[in-house]
């Protein structure tokens, strides 16, 4: 057993980058001012706030005035959906989303439904892709918003956001994307892509937990869901989390600067896992699209050992490797099959049995080799799959 932990659950959260820690430190220590204050301490904090807003805006080629800091990706999603409906008012409102969204979107849609809003959930294909033609056919005169995630948290599939956003734009409807998984990993350019609103969370890009942001294109009407002192130009009242915002800004800047090289590196590691597992384990299958997926995201299923995926997680954990079964956000739901996998057409058994391996900035070739060495050992220890041959070919296909 390796003494060093190998963390392969970067879609759940990521370790802080030391550069981010360094950027945050002054705001946990000497620079403690409230950015709304007029004195020097306040002005120091305001400078940080403005700098971070620019850093986040640059990640999407947005205008800094279009970035609003929040406390999480979930809050950003809530604000986007509820804020648009609240701003528009009216009695007949319709929202289009997809069946594979994060609960932050789906549960907000359910909340809107209880208020009388009609919600259409677009189906997913077996790769986790939303068909643009399905979107095109779902509009009504009362449609106020389309919300489709940029990349899925469970299976890693990257949506055809350009086309989906273009269709919404052509219908005159704002397009929101939950980019919590995609931001900082694949390029998103709101000046060339007709995205109206975009959510992100710092802790998915080696930033701190407890801070997120919402991009709202200038001119799109949106109402606050938190009421108070009018911070963030009235959209998100609450004294700003300065250390978190400084961390998010730094994390966004690092992600932008290193995105290409990092993506190319992670794709190689990702494909090494996919191909080696395929060679070693005949009952393994890849979940999600083979190529249209996030650079560091692997989601695997093992035919006939759905229940054992939890055991596999536990035994890999004992061996020092952290992975997950599906989304961390649904881990507490116990027996419930993944709504994402069910929407992709998996039966309830398979929908309970996925294994998610997600790579990040601090994973190395050695981490992947250690995982690929330990995985078959742990699978052999699971009696029910011992009937499957495990090849010694560890060289990929």
């Amino acid at each position: 057993m390796s003494a060093r932990r190998i963390y392969l659950d970067n879609s759940a959260t990521t370790p802080l980058d030391p550069r981010v820690v360094q950027a945050m430190h002054p705001y946990l220590d000497t620079v403690f001012g409230n950015p709304s204050s007029l004195h020097r301490e306040g002005r120091q904090a305001r400078e940080c706030l403005d700098r971070a807003r620019g850093q986040v805006a640059a990640l999407f080629n947005a205008d800094p005035g279009e970035i609003f800091f929040t406390a999480s990706g979930t809050e950003s999603d809530n604000l986007a959906l509820t804020g648009i409906i609240d701003a528009l008012g009216g009695h007949e409102n319709h929202v289009i989303t997809s069946a594979i969204e994060h609960p932050a979107v789906l549960e907000t849609c359910r909340s809107l439904e209880r208020r009388g809003v009609d919600v259409t959930c677009l189906p997913s294909d077996s790769d986790g892709l939303i068909d643009p033609d399905e979107l095109a056919g779902a509009f009504r005169p009362t449609t106020r918003l389309v919300s489709v995630m940029a990349a899925n948290n469970v299976v890693g599939t990257v949506q055809p956001i350009n086309e989906l956003a273009r269709i919404a734009h052509d219908h005159g409807v704002p397009f929101h994307t939950d980019a919590v998984q995609a931001a900082g990993k694949i390029p998103i350019n709101v000046r060339t892509q007709p995205i109206g609103l975009l959510s992100l969370a710092a802790h998915k890009i080696h930033g701190p937990k407890g801070v997120g942001a919402l991009f709202v294109r200038a001119g799109i009407p949106i109402a606050p869901i938190l009421h108070g002192g009018g911070q963030e130009r009235g959209l998100r009242s609450a004294t700003e989390n300065m250390a978190g915002i400084a961390g998010l800004g730094c994390a966004a800047e690092i992600a932008r600067a290193e995105m290409s090289a990092e993506a190319a590196r992670l794709v190689k590691l990702r494909d090494r896992i996919i191909e080696t597992v395929a060679a070693m384990l005949p009952n393994a299958y890849l979940i999600g699209h083979r190529h249209r997926r996030l650079p560091g995201h692997v989601c695997l299923g093992f035919d006939g050992m759905e229940g054992e995926s939890i055991r596999l997680l536990l035994s890999l954990d004992e061996a020092g490797i952290a992975i997950s079964t599906g989304s961390a956000c649904s881990a507490h739901r116990g027996n419930q099959p993944s709504h994402v996998l069910q929407a992709m057409g998996f039966d309830p058994f398979r929908a309970r049995g996925s294994l998610r391996v997600t790579l990040g900035r601090f994973n190395t070739d050695a981490d992947v080799e250690a995982f690929l060495r330990i995985l078959p050992e742990k699978i052999r220890e699971l009696r029910p799959i011992a009937t499957y041959p495990i090849t010694n070919n560890n060289k990929g296909v």
Partner: protein, 232 residues
């Protein structure tokens, strides 16, 4: 069709595994299939997903019952579970039945009637909390059903049959008792006493504990019923 760097999005995003679009374009003349790696080349195009599994999948193994590998794992100490805790005996299933026999009750016992559960029905569910909390969804076949109390006697099997034949989903259930045979024990077993035991077919190989309230010698084994179950 010969593609050049001008045909690529020019984002240099790295998501294809090459650091730049130019680097990808250089490889395209020799392998046009590499274009499938570009997630921005065509959002409209549905690129076929190659099958990861080269061979048809082997028959799905059953978790227990008809499992081909029916013996307990051979650790350094056969009287310890996978977490290194001592066990007093191993509980095997009746050889004439498709898997370990359990007496269960849905968390809402009315489900037994509402779902019209009948002997022979294929069921799934997870044993939640007391007793005996387990993270694994179980599958099985109903053997006896008491619609008045909701109590079901089922034999736990692997997932293959539910997948092939369909099933009724109990959601969560309580495991009230186990019945089976004891071939391997390291102490005398008595009615009314609690013991640590290892269900031979337990996927996790975690020890359980329970109170023996039925015990009868049958051939070379002891037939027992254990109730008041806990994991650990």
């Amino acid at each position: 069709m010969t593609l050049t760097v001008k045909d690529l999005p020019g984002l240099d995003c790295g998501a294809c595994g090459f650091r730049t679009c130019e680097a990808l374009a250089e490889q395209l003349p020799g392998d046009q299939a590499l274009l499938k790696r570009c997630i921005y080349y065509s959002d409209k195009e549905k690129m076929a997903t190659p099958t990861l599994v080269a061979k048809p999948p082997a028959p799905a193994p059953t978790a227990c019952g008809s499992c081909a590998v029916a013996s307990a794992p051979k650790g350094a100490n056969p009287w310890q579970d996978s977490l290194g805790r001592d066990v007093d005996f191993y509980l095997d299933h009746f050889p004439t039945e498709p898997g370990p026999r359990e007496i269960i009750i849905p968390h809402n016992p009315m489900l037994t009637r509402e779902m019209n559960i009948q002997p022979g029905d294929v069921l799934i569910g997870r044993p939640l909390g007391m007793s005996c909390g387990c993270p694994i969804t179980h599958c099985g076949v109903a053997m006896q059903v008491d619609p008045r109390t909701g109590v079901i006697v089922w034999c736990v099997t692997g997932p293959l049959r539910p997948r092939l034949e369909g099933f009724k989903d109990l959601g969560y259930y309580i495991a009230e008792g186990y019945e089976g045979l004891v071939h391997k024990k390291r102490c005398d077993l008595k009615i009314g006493m609690r013991y640590f035991f290892q269900p031979t077919m337990c996927m996790l190989q975690w020890r359980h504990s329970g109170l023996i309230n039925y015990l009868n010698r049958t051939g070379d084994a002891l037939q027992i019923r254990v109730e008041g179950l806990w994991i650990g």
